[in-house]
């Protein structure tokens, strides 16, 4: 599918989604509550069939957190970027995608570790890289650490 068709599909699917086409791929920004049903449709519908989640990360925009999901379809070979906006930065929460793509498990652990986003219905949410008793989430912009020597 071309970018235009994907845009049409996404508008039909979720009228509240907004688009951003500055980058290489089509970026779709959706509210975080709608994530799971949208993703399920994207994964399971025959003409979309996004079976390959190749990058999952988060960006801290100071006033909100943005989950970024890069989806690709191995059969149709089209790519889409889904962004879910989490406005609550104190106690961010979002649905886990483990049930759709198993690769999300470790990726979500990583995001939880470095950004503090809690994933609901995640099978084994833990700090992946840092010790369990680590204070703070290092990739947040407001992270402070007295041991960190800044250039």
């Amino acid at each position: 599918m071309t970018t235009e068709e994907l845009k049409q599909v996404m508008t039909d699917l979720l009228p509240s989604s907004t688009f951003d086409e500055t980058g290489e791929f089509l970026n779709v920004i959706i509210p975080s509550e709608e994530l799971l049903p949208v993703m399920k449709t994207l994964r399971n519908r025959e003409d979309l069939f996004f079976d390959y989640l190749f990058c999952l990360t988060c960006v801290d925009w100071k006033d909100h957190l943005m989950m970024v999901y890069f989806l690709n379809s191995r059969t149709h070979n089209h790519t889409i970027v889904i962004k879910a906006k989490i406005t609550d930065t104190i106690n961010p929460q979002i649905e886990s995608l483990f049930s759709i793509w198993p690769t999300a498990e470790l990726n979500e652990d990583e995001v939880f570790d470095l950004f503090g986003v809690k994933f609901l219905n995640h099978p084994n949410l833990r700090r992946l890289f840092l010790e369990e008793d680590w204070v703070g989430y290092p990739l947040r912009k407001n992270y402070e650490d007295e041991h960190m020597i800044e250039l």
């Binding site: 190749f54 990058c55 960006v59 890069f70 690769t103 470095l114 840092l130 290092p138 990739l139």
Partner: protein, 372 residues
Amino acid sequence: MLFEPDHYNEEGEFVVNMGPQHPSTHGVLRLKVWLDGETIKKVEPHLGYIHRSIEKMTESLSYRQFIYVTSRMDYLSAHINNQVCALVVEKALQVEVPARAQAIRVILAELTRISSHLLWFASIGLDLGGVTPFFYAFREREAINSLMDENCGARLTQNFMVPGGIMKDVLPNFQQRVKEVLKQFKDNYHEYDEILTGNVIFQNRLKGVGILTKEDAIAFGCTGPTARASGLNCDIRKLYPYDGYEKLQFDEITSTGGDCWARYEVRMAEMKQSVKIIEQLIDNIPEGEIVGNTKKVIKLPKGEFYQRVETARGELGVYIVSDGGTTPYRCKYRSPNFANLSAIPHIARGHKIGDLISIMATIDLIIPDIDR
């Protein structure tokens, strides 16, 4: 058993920690393994023993500097790691890379791929208990490293890329040296087959072990030789060509077995394809500039950029969010090993301890690339 010696748990399972210091984990991966006798019931990876906060560092490095930190991520594909960073900056700035720089980049990248696969060959022998292949493979690796040393100034972490091209021109005898290295590799290739491929014990250790189906490979996001051994066409050099790969003739090696043996065969055949690529280029390196038109201080336009390359282990992506400044606002590396690792707990279940070693050896993990 170096960590958390919790004995039999409530269900009567025997829990063994492999790692962080364990000879077969190729670094500091820690796998918590639940055993029933010799049979594996569950595997849980514990990471972070070499988490060096590269992504946080990158946020304070300029676009010229951040390339070189990535050499330390997947140090066996150091050159290809640098390439992806250079490519993403070029893509954002829309800089044209001179043809000469592209050709040299590709030659060095393929040499890196060969040397990386050679190290994998060495370590698979070592992991399965045969020490001798290690020395055979390192003989050729040493030749490639010396070549890198002469031209780039470093043996392992070459740091030869700049945004827009390469840092220096290669030496005048570069072509001749590359041909020597390739000749040595091709002359000795049959020895690898003789010592490992034809060995019955070795085949029995790998055949039918750790089967990863095509569907699982997609679902776990596996890429590189690991996924291609399951029949998935995922070579970025073919799907999304960069640096002139579209002009080159080479085959994407796939296999349908999905087991350790298929992964072994795919990697062995890939080395030959890399030789083929280099042979096409080595006599036709164009003359001309080596660096495109870039400014001293690079500022990326506001926006988000994603670029992927095929390293020796799979698809490496870099995702850069720029706010228009001289440093990235956020940088994320989509590491091939991280995704490949997530498949291990799934495919190791029900196998023996010895099979876990085979699986880890054929998936070929580089831990600093997982942890970053």
